[in-house]
């Protein structure tokens, strides 16, 4: 988030911005994190035991809508970044809040989906399929939730004049994280949902 450190104003324009390098390295690491979770799911996608299968339980129309919501949150995010680049703080706040709102809609969708699945007989303890599905999507949801908190914190901090100099970079970093969470969902939507029905 706003990990502002002294090096920022020392300025070492060698291979790029200090915090952006750190963020990209972190996202490179996150590829492996979600790769492991998705692979676990792929390993168990047919291991449903006595519980429901993917075909029986997934509702593609519903998930398509929440995927669409998350995709559009990437648009609002990039517009917030663009506004920050023009130092249009008011617009930036509007788009940041819109992004956080779309994130919350996605999370509510996930909560609804989980409840439905539990009612239909799929929990983490039903089958390895259930374990892998819930743990993967929960970790993704956790990332979305942290993203929403960061968006709100960035909006909140943009009111304090003191932090204005680092503002653009704050938004850019939150944006990178947010888009990454979105592309992970692009993969999950295809691999976990569409390919299994």
């Amino acid at each position: 988030m706003a990990v502002l450190d002294h090096t920022e104003h020392a300025g070492h324009p060698d291979l790029g911005n200090v915090r952006k390098i750190a963020m990209w390295a972190f996202l490179g690491s996150e590829c492996l994190f979600f790769g492991t979770l998705i692979s676990t799911f792929l390993l168990y996608h047919n291991t449903t035991g006595d519980g429901p299968t993917a075909k029986e339980i997934f509702s593609i129309p519903f998930t398509s809508v929440s995927s669409f919501v998350l995709l559009m949150s990437s648009l609002t995010m990039v517009l917030a970044h663009h506004a920050a680049g023009r130092k249009d703080w008011r617009q930036m706040r509007v788009w940041l809040l819109a992004t956080a709102g779309l994130g919350l809609v996605f999370l509510s969708g996930q909560a609804y989906e989980f409840t439905t699945f539990v009612h239909e007989g799929l929990t983490v303890t039903t089958s390895p399929f259930g374990s892998a599905f819930f743990v993967l999507t929960s970790f993704h949801g956790g990332h979305v939730a942290i993203g929403v908190l960061m968006l709100l914190a960035t909006t909140f901090m943009s009111f304090g004049g003191k932090l204005h100099e680092g503002q653009g970079m704050n938004v850019e970093l939150v944006g990178l994280y947010w888009h990454f969470v979105d592309i992970v969902w692009i993969v999950i939507f295809t691999v976990v949902y569409l390919l299994q029905v």
Binding site: L15, L27, I60, S74, F189, L194
Partner: protein, 99 residues
């Protein structure tokens, strides 16, 4: 601070255009899953479409196309390593063969 050294970014018009394309691909993906005739071609089609969405977001929304190569390389190592390693793991479980 980095805005000064970055090459020019796309405009909001480009961003909205990309969002429209992303929406269209997603719609196509969902449609494909409902067409029974496409049974054998479905998986490769879905993977190609999902990869296209992935690249659009990474390249434009995350500015990787316009930004310094160092960022791209850090991310690319992770991005390439993941399917290679787990492809091997899943292969050793016999999942990708004959499935």
């Amino acid at each position: 601070m980095s805005e000064a050294i970055d090459r020019p970014h796309p405009t909001p018009r480009d961003y909205i255009l990309i969002a429209v394309i992303l929406f269209a691909i997603t719609a196509a993906e969902v449609a494909v899953t409902y067409v029974d005739a496409l049974d054998s071609a479905r998986a490769p089609m879905l993977i190609v479409m999902s990869a296209a969405k992935f690249l659009l977001v990474v390249g434009w929304y995350m500015h990787l196309r316009f930004d310094r190569p160092a960022y791209r390389n850090l991310f690319l190592i992770g991005l390439v390593l993941t399917p290679v390693l787990f492809g091997a793991v899943l292969l050793s479980f016999g999942l990708l063969i004959g499935n």
